[in-house]
């Protein structure tokens, strides 16, 4: 297994490089002169030229890329001018907030999605199945940001159960309970879409597996039905559910951008949007590369989980 993980990590290197290339290319699409963009329209030509030289923008593209890459490898992602601090510090801080939110959401979406899918499959065409199918349709159709707003209206404004937004209360907050209270709504709003997708897939995977011969064998052994469903069928179905969970992690991370805006969650998604609006391109660039890298690593973890689950995968 160790060797397998190592090989997966090595195989990820070109992917990571590719990501930096894409980000670099996208960023060089920027029309006009970045130095002018940073300094504003009233910059003197000398200043623009100096900044260009400081930023290394006067050199050819390939060289610029190599320098940029080399700096990143040394942990230098540049400075954010809007925050006036190193990009890496800002991203690290914001990303941990996003991880709390997206991680919780991911667990929720996997848990509820799979349960709903299993119930739906076992009660195929029954009342529960129809109900879940409908809920899934609603779940994948409702914009996450709108869902978040509705939740704020209902649970925070109307029922006053939960705080409206933020990660911690401004006065007297800061402990875990406080965090959890703030976490409930954004995590649920964020999980809704992904849970719907997972439930859909889990349902069809379960239906597929339940028809297989080894399920009949399990029943012929006289196993309790619960064991047949959860032990035998779900275990097989997980083989096709897990890769989709990996994809959903991407969706959850993406949805976090909206949810962080709605709930004023100090995460990396909101940071990126703000950075774009203030044209803090260093921050955008560094943030995108770092988050994408984290996502690549996460996907390796998914593959490893898959290999642990399925002995037929060569490790």
């Amino acid at each position: 297994m160790g060797g397998y993980i190592l090989r997966r990590l090595i195989a990820a290197v070109p992917v990571l490089l590719g990501i930096t290339v894409i980000v670099f290319l996208v960023m060089s699409l920027i029309p006009g002169d970045p130095a002018t963009a940073i300094l504003g329209a009233y910059a003197t030509p000398e200043n623009v030229e100096k900044l260009n030289r400081d930023l290394g923008l006067d050199r050819p593209m390939v060289e610029r890329y190599v320098i940029w890459l080399g700096n990143m490898l040394q942990g230098d992602f540049g400075r954010s001018f809007s925050r006036n601090r190193p990009v890496i510090d800002e991203v690290a801080e914001r990303f941990s907030a996003t991880l709390v939110l997206a991680g919780t959401s991911f667990v929720l979406c996997a848990f509820f999605g799979i349960i709903a899918g299993v119930i739906s499959a076992v009660r195929q065409y029954g009342f529960a199945d129809r109900l879940i199918t409908f809920a899934v349709l609603v779940g994948i159709s409702v914009p996450p940001f709108f869902l978040g707003m509705i939740m704020i209206l209902v649970f925070a404004v109307h029922l006053r159960w939960l705080p409206v937004s933020g990660m911690y209360a401004i006065y007297g907050g800061g402990d875990l309970a406080d965090l959890l209270r703030h976490l409930v709504m954004p995590a649920l709003a964020l999980a809704a879409v992904a849970a719907g997708v997972v439930a859909r897939l889990a349902r069809s995977a379960m239906l597929e597996v339940l028809r297989q011969d080894h399920i009949r064998t399990a029943r012929a052994k006289g196993l309790p039905e619960r064991r047949v469903i959860l032990g035998h069928a779900l275990r097989s179905a997980m083989v096709s559910i897990i890769p989709v969970l990996g994809l959903q992690a991407g969706f959850v991370l993406s949805g976090a951008v909206y949810i962080e805006t709605v709930f004023q969650w100090p995460g990396v998604g909101r940071m990126l949007v703000d950075a774009i609006l203030t044209r803090d391109l260093m921050l955008v660039q560094g943030g995108v590369v770092l988050v994408a890298a984290a996502y690549v690593l996460f996907n390796i973890a998914v593959d490893v989980a898959q290999a642990l689950l399925d002995p037929r995968i060569k490790t």
Binding site: V26, M27, D213, T217, V228, R235
Partner: protein, 605 residues
């Protein structure tokens, strides 16, 4: 719903609406249903209804444009990659993989960051992010198509690559493109709206539904209706598109729609009409099946797979049940413990008695107690019947512990013992293997060990050797025979092979089209088959050692089960058939140990 929204969007310019951008600060945040403003006004006093209609139009247009753009670019890349293959394919797909390595919106954000916020840029970003999905799907289909004859033919006829792609490939992948398009459009509308919501899409004063929501966020708590109106609209639009997409997919790809797989229930549905028939076997039989009727109900069609089967099995007896595939022999055996997949299977009549106790109407809890403990099954294909992800030790101990509560260690020791009983070489090592690590014969030994786990009284062996090669077959048969003698097991041996029956069973029954057509002691039946079908079937079997003798085959095919001919089902293929055979029900007549369902049995009987 979708049609309505589309119509609304198209008709917008002609509707008598107020100017969506006319501000009137005096009328800020008018509530819905106010006299001038049906849905109220927003923070600048703009009429919400007008803004809603215009916003919907814009959102739809953006989403559709993004979807189309993604579809066109993705399809071109996909077709080119799939068709050309080789290096071009590799290069394109690598790039696509990279793009897919990003979490979705992140890439869109990067693109918007580079191009700057704005409606068109948001559209480009969403299209770019979704393009890989199309490219991948389309490439998959194209690769499959590129190897087909008509493509080769086109190539031979001197068509250029470009033309082949446009003329031969494109029409064939079109359904796939359409499915992908309809199932993702809703998503793309959401995404473009999302970017606008973040302030990265449409810029004021122009507003789509997303930016309406974004602007309303500031006044969410004091004036929720400003947010709710566009939010509900997005929801309705996306949901109706998703529903439409599902519909299109079902129409173009029936596999996923109405023909979706149905999962079998824990036990076959029993839906018997009329009173259970009396037992013909008399008391004392271990297992007695009487007038069993199991049918498959598929839509309106009813296929009687077992059309009134009666069989009995004594303690320690081996009965061979012979027939071609589809004759209903497996269904009969599976019905005993209600293991026929249901739906579509239904037990529509008859009884199964185990020690004179009816089992078909036993509650599931009781039935579960019988499965594996009194009646165990060995199935045909040990590859499919063992769980691929559990070690065989886990599967064995699980079977043991289902009926005998004991510690894991004790069960493990017992499992090793069982493996030894079925002559598994080095059972201590094998027990931690996964099924895919064993040979076919070894897997079947595991299957048998599992059936023996709880010392059952009856084993239903459903073609246990068919999937194995000849030498292994002989070993497994010898093993079953030995176990039967040692343990007093009764075996119902299902096979299409008379050779196997002759080796193992004292008695045999022959099935045709869901019914028993002949029954009797093995030696007698083999020596002098009474039913014309049995005779033909025996003639099909090469005599042992006869080498490659030409097999006599039975002309014709068994009749479809939902269109059985009246009278004898074998009549259309029978060389002895006379008009009377098709006049009415032919009954199974017993004489001594033997029984035959034929009006004009073979002379020897």
């Amino acid at each position: 719903m979708l049609a309505l929204i589309l119509l609304l969007a198209l008709a917008t310019p002609f509707l008598p609406l107020q100017d969506p951008n006319a501000t009137a600060t005096a009328e800020r945040f008018a509530r819905p249903l106010s006299p001038d403003h049906l849905l109220g006004t927003d923070h600048l006093g703009r009429d919400l209804l007008a803004r809603l209609v215009h916003g919907t139009r814009l959102s739809l247009a953006m989403g559709l444009a993004a979807a189309l753009l993604a579809a066109v670019l993705g399809s071109i890349l996909g077709i080119v990659a799939g068709f050309l293959g080789g290096r071009a394919d590799n290069l394109i797909m690598r790039g696509i993989d990279m793009l897919m390595g990003f979490p979705y919106v992140l890439l869109a954000l990067a693109i918007v960051a580079a191009l700057g916020p704005g409606l068109v840029n948001a559209l480009i970003a969403v299209a770019a992010v979704n393009m890989p999905f199309f490219a991948r799907n389309i490439r998959g289909v194209t690769v499959a198509l590129a190897g087909r004859e008509f493509v080769d033919a086109a190539r031979l006829s001197g068509m250029g690559n470009l033309r082949i792609m446009a003329v031969e490939i494109l029409p064939n992948v079109l359904p796939v493109i359409v499915i992908a398009l309809t199932t993702t459009t809703g998503w793309m509308i959401l995404e473009t709206a999302g970017l606008s919501f973040l302030g990265l899409g449409s810029q004021p004063p122009q507003a789509d539904l997303g930016s309406m929501l974004g602007e309303a966020r500031a006044a969410l708590i004091s004036h929720p209706h400003v947010a709710v109106v566009p939010g509900v609209m997005i929801f309705l639009v996306v949901m109706s598109i998703n529903l439409f997409g599902d519909g299109v997919r079902d129409a173009l790809d029936p596999r996923l729609g109405a023909g979706a797989p149905t999962r079998p229930l824990p036990a076959t549905v029993v839906d018997r009409t009329g009173p259970p028939p009396p037992s013909q076997a008399g008391h004392g039989a271990l297992l007695a099946i009487d007038d069993l009727r199991t049918e498959f109900r598929i839509g309106r069609r009813v296929l009687p797979a077992a059309g009134g089967v009666s069989l009995s099995l004594g303690r320690g007896e081996a009965l061979g049940l012979v027939g071609e595939s589809g004759s209903g022999k497996s269904v009969t055996a599976l019905s005993v413990m209600r293991l026929v997949a249901s739906p579509p299977g239904v037990i529509a009549g008859g009884t199964v008695r185990l020690d004179d106790t009816e089992v078909l109407d036993a509650p599931l809890r009781i039935l579960r107690g019988l499965r594996g403990r009194r009646v165990a099954y060995v199935f045909q294909d040990p590859q499919g019947t063992l769980h691929p992800l559990y070690r065989i030790g886990e599967q064995l101990t699980e079977a043991i512990r289902a009926h005998q509560p004991m510690s894991l260690q004790a069960a493990r020791a017992r499992a090793i013992e069982l493996l030894r009983d079925v002559r598994m070489p080095r059972p201590e090592d094998r027990i931690d293997d996964y099924p895919h690590q064993l040979s076919g014969g070894q897997r079947q030994r595991v299957g048998i060990a599992m059936a023996l786990a709880n010392d059952p009284d009856v084993i239903m062996a459903d073609e246990p050797t068919t999937a194995l090669d000849v030498t292994v077959q002989a070993q497994i048969l010898a093993l079953l025979d030995q176990l039967r003698r040692e343990r007093g097991l009764a075996i119902l041996f299902i096979t299409h092979d008379f050779g196997v029956v002759a080796q193992l069973c004292e008695r045999l029954a022959v099935m045709y089209a869901g019914r028993i057509v002949e029954e009797g002691p093995t030696a007698e039946v083999l020596a002098a088959p009474a039913h014309p079908y049995t005779r033909r079937l025996i003639a099909c079997v090469p005599a042992p050692g006869a080498g490659r003798r030409r097999l006599e085959t039975i002309p014709g095919l068994p009749p479809p089960l939902d269109a059985l001919p009246p009278g004898c089902a074998f009549a259309p293929r029978c060389h002895r058939a006379r008009p009377a055979c098709s006049d009415g029900e032919v009954v199974l007549r017993r004489t001594g140990m033997r029984a035959v369902r034929c009006l004009y049995p073979e002379a020897a009987a």
